[in-house]
């Protein structure tokens, strides 16, 4: 039962070492695992070394040990958007409402199927948050769905239960936000971008290297030889171009702004410009793309060692990318097709990446995404994607 689990974890990219696996066996032999709940916690603690793998672990655990528990434990598979909405309603829990008398419904326990039906009915007709009461999804109260209430046999949604089974916990996917594929949060951005920092020796040789001084002095037979190094300084230049127009970018702009703000502290040379869809004869210094235009030629003329990072969904009407001349959709006359300008950028800068907020599974379906992907190495705007992009920028 455990060996397949071990290989399943490894197949999913959770690099469980054999040592860790033996350690789990030791924990089992020592009697530290008495129940499935124990197994869930102990195995995760011993085997999984990053919170980014917790979500995958949860899913695998649920898949793998589901036979060990009754299948009735399956949670309702909620649409993410709906889940977010409900979580919002449940964020401000109230204490059980004493004014609501537990009625006859208290005693009638719903079957799992009935409960699921009740829940989806409420999802259909509920439009706002509720606290207390006997019907709606909310907190307090005696309705069968919600939390911090007093309905035995009900379905708990959100909040903290005192007695969750391992399977319920695993199915809750409470670590979804940390998972490797998850869209970046502000906090993670800073962490990932720190790896862009690139210390290189520069400036005058005025830093005394004591270790080499001693070594060289010994080699000199005791005659003192001072060894000086250049100081380490951050010399990395970064040009960030962000597509801040269009609905598919909209949700990501705040995150990307945070990315910029974090990055600002990190480099002395950081230029941030905005564009829409693709790059034409100018980009802008102001997010509104009105006041401070920068001509494209100027964008090409920076230090060729600069790292060029473009953030955008790379999605547009193909003609916008491919055609020079007047555009039908925008009041713009372009002397050069967008794609040619992108190619020029890729030639001008050796180290370039394109970060795409769209899920990589969608990329094959976007015509312009494919074209741009051929020009710039494209990575997803997720923690993993950003890490790969940073690695690419530092080692290409």
């Amino acid at each position: 039962m455990f060996r397949p689990f071990f290989y399943a974890l490894r197949d999913r990219g959770i690099m469980v070492s054999p040592t860790a696996f033996l350690r789990l066996q030791r924990a089992l032999a020592m009697g530290l695992v008495q129940s499935l709940d124990d197994l869930y916690t102990v195995a995760r603690t011993v085997l999984v070394k990053s919170e980014r793998d917790f979500d995958a672990y949860d899913q695998l655990f649920a898949e793998h040990f589901a036979e060990a528990v009754h299948s009735a434990e399956d949670s309702v598979d909620l649409d993410q958007e709906l889940r977010d909405q409900i979580e919002k309603w449940l964020k401000k829990p109230k204490k059980p409402d004493a004014s609501v008398e537990p009625g006859a419904e208290q005693s009638e326990r719903l079957s799992p199927e009935e409960l699921e039906q009740y829940f989806s009915d409420r999802l259909n007709d509920q439009k706002e948050e509720h606290h207390g009461g006997r019907k709606w999804i909310g907190t307090g109260g005696v309705s069968p769905v919600g939390h911090s209430g007093q309905r035995p046999g009900g379905m708990r949604i959100g909040g903290i239960s005192r007695n969750r089974s391992a399977m319920q916990v695993a199915l809750e996917r409470r670590y979804r936000d940390y998972s490797r594929g998850a869209t970046l949060t502000r906090g993670q951005v800073g962490e990932a971008l720190k790896r862009l920092r690139h210390l290189m020796p520069s400036g005058p040789r005025d830093d005394l290297n004591i270790d080499s001084t001693i070594y060289q002095t010994m080699r000199n037979g005791g005659e003192i030889e001072l060894v000086f190094d250049r100081r380490l300084a951050d010399r990395l230049k970064v040009i960030l171009l962000i597509d801040n127009g269009g609905w598919s970018m909209e949700a990501h702009v705040p995150t990307v702004q945070a990315l910029f703000n974090h990055a600002r502290d990190q480099f002395q040379n950081l230029d941030i410009h905005y564009f829409h869809n693709t790059i034409h004869e100018r980009v802008w210094n102001d997010p509104e793309r009105v006041h401070h235009p920068i001509p494209f030629t100027q964008l090409l003329a920076r230090d060729p060692q600069s790292r060029l990072i473009i953030v955008g969904d790379a999605s547009m009407a193909p003609e916008e990318l491919l055609h020079a001349g007047p555009s039908f959709t925008l009041r713009r006359v372009s002397s050069q097709a967008g794609i040619e300008r992108l190619q020029a950028l890729a030639r001008a800068y050796r180290h370039t990446v394109w970060l795409n907020p769209l899920s990589p599974s969608l990329w094959p379906y976007g015509q312009t995404i494919n074209m741009i992907n051929k020009i710039f190495p494209m990575f997803s705007l997720s923690l993993d994607g950003l890490e790969q992009a940073v690695h690419h920028l530092m080692h290409s």
Partner: protein
Amino acid sequence: MTESQPLHRFTSASRYILDEELAKIVNVSMALELPLLLKGEPGTGKTRLAHAIAESLGMPLIILNVKSSMKLVEALYQYDTLTRLNDSRFADSSRDVSCIEDYIRMGKIGQAFTADQRVVLLIDEIDKADTDFQDDMLDVLDQMQFDIMEIDKTVTARHRPVVIITSNAKKDLSDPFLGRCNFHHIAFPEADMMTRIVAVHFPDLDQQLIEACLSAFYRLRELEGVEKKPATRELLNWLRALVVDPDVEAANLTTGQLPYLGILFKKSADLEMAQAQAPA
């Protein structure tokens, strides 16, 4: 765990609210004799946990605060050459100048190894140190011994300490490091848990006020564009300020009048953003 094992189990300490999962993890790590690596955003109680374990098990707590420039040897021992030079020149101390051992001072890990009883060793913010430090340190913790080169002596732990290591995830830790630790990530406490934490610190506080504060607190954590979200410590300090101000009433807080926001937001940009977004 077998009955015969005289192992103390960590339960909970007077001022620390512990969730069951974490208690299990601590106990498993102690039983397997592995360091426990705790990650999580600041304010999730990583450091407090080490204090709580020490308190609960009645063990002394030794804290190694990791600094970015720190060398491992500093955490193990220091050879106090300056004092020895001084002694040799003025010869007015009780120490024996010819005995180097008299000038060896134990660092935090050294102290944990040579202590008379089992201790809790907290290695705080390991991610500040470089990778070499981390890997070398784990060798030491693995073997439970280190060499003092100057006197050609090996220090072996008299009692294997309970090792808790914290990380704010500023840097990724190396695979060998992770391989030798148990791991847990402490999520930021949800409102329910936070209510219990607050209750431990303010047992007599008006329930309505606590609820109003917590709801405001979680609302403020969700504000757009805030870089350093207020954490548990800030919440407790904020409550402390609100409690002593006679003008503060729960009703005012719920209508969005939030005094002393500067306690919650330490960065001026965050504070401005919070003030702009919170209804006046």
